[in-house]
Symmetry: C2
Subunit: 196 residues, 2 copies
Amino acid sequence: MQQRSEETRSKIISSAIKLFSTRGFNAASVDDICKDAEISKGAFYHHFESKQALFLALLDGWLQTIDNAIELSKDKTVPETFIQMTEAFPYIFATAGEGLPMFLEFWLQASRDDKIWQASIAPYRRYHKHFTSLIKKGVDEGSFVQVDPELTARMIVSMAMGLLLQSLLDPEGAKWEKTAREITTMMMNTLLRKEA
Amino acid sequence: MQQRSEETRSKIISSAIKLFSTRGFNAASVDDICKDAEISKGAFYHHFESKQALFLALLDGWLQTIDNAIELSKDKTVPETFIQMTEAFPYIFATAGEGLPMFLEFWLQASRDDKIWQASIAPYRRYHKHFTSLIKKGVDEGSFVQVDPELTARMIVSMAMGLLLQSLLDPEGAKWEKTAREITTMMMNTLLRKEA
DNA sequence: GAATAAAAACCGACTAGTCGGTTTGTTTTT
DNA sequence: AAAAACAAACCGACTAGTCGGTTTTTATTC
């Protein structure tokens, strides 16, 4: 059994999440993480070949969470999927508040490396594509009015990212979750076909 | 005359802009900037008390540019102001591509300092307030349909920030400028009152 | 099931280098 | 001559990553 090994690995990961999200990617040193996880530097570099590799491992976990959520909503109707998304708003805003800064920080410096850029842009494009076809499906199944799926997708994603970024810049500046819900309602009203 | 002194200062500033935007705030070291500006470290710290202070000075310059633009559009009608904004899209996207990464990077780590946070959030709130009252003015003068100015402002700003952020993440992923124009047209169509 | 060998996991001092900032002394301007 | 501007060596704190050696786990043999 590799019980101990797995425990060490997961201790590293949870300490990393904790410190990256509170202090940021750069400000949280490998030594800090080792200290918090109560393991040695040797153990750290036995499990991860670099600090960057550790972050990429974390990223992978998050992307899988998203993929799972998408998979689960596979056979729902499009409006149902959207409703499910709105219901996830509280969780999303909370998670983004913790996770988005470290991701942005990491990405801003790591994206200069072509390997990293490719690895992070691929899922982004994948999700965009998925979202576009979701809207197309909504139009085809008659739930939505005729819109350009591509453009609408970019619009909704922009809105979401902008809202998230603003909630990051000025958390107390507005009731972001409420604002998000209101905007969603507004958009759904113009998007949903009125059944006479 | 303090000709030479001013020249040194402006050499530092232009080198800083150049290096911060190409390499990022952290990756561009003070030594790099001095070397590029062909001045010594002593000169650097004679003009700016820290690397952070230098960045704040740059920020101040940009904020003034924005303030000037706002001032200039003071006595235009609201739709005219919006048209002026759309016309600035090419410039905005180009500038954001260079400037936004370094600003985000700086902000993500500096915002943990309360002084910095206050200094950067104040203009953000100021602009939001201005934008909200701009929309209110549009409604009042009869150009726009009845909307909640606060919510609409948040929506438009979200859209803008999301678009900018996406164009940063995946510059080649879409024709962002065109997308921005189309989305603007779409929003203006729902916002503008149809004069019979 | 004990003995043993091999492999995996782990430790922590150490390296080599970076970077923001300081200090001391010199030149230029006023 | 006084003050401002500048040059360049220097400092100290910090950090990602390495490496030789140790402990623990696993596989193998008897």
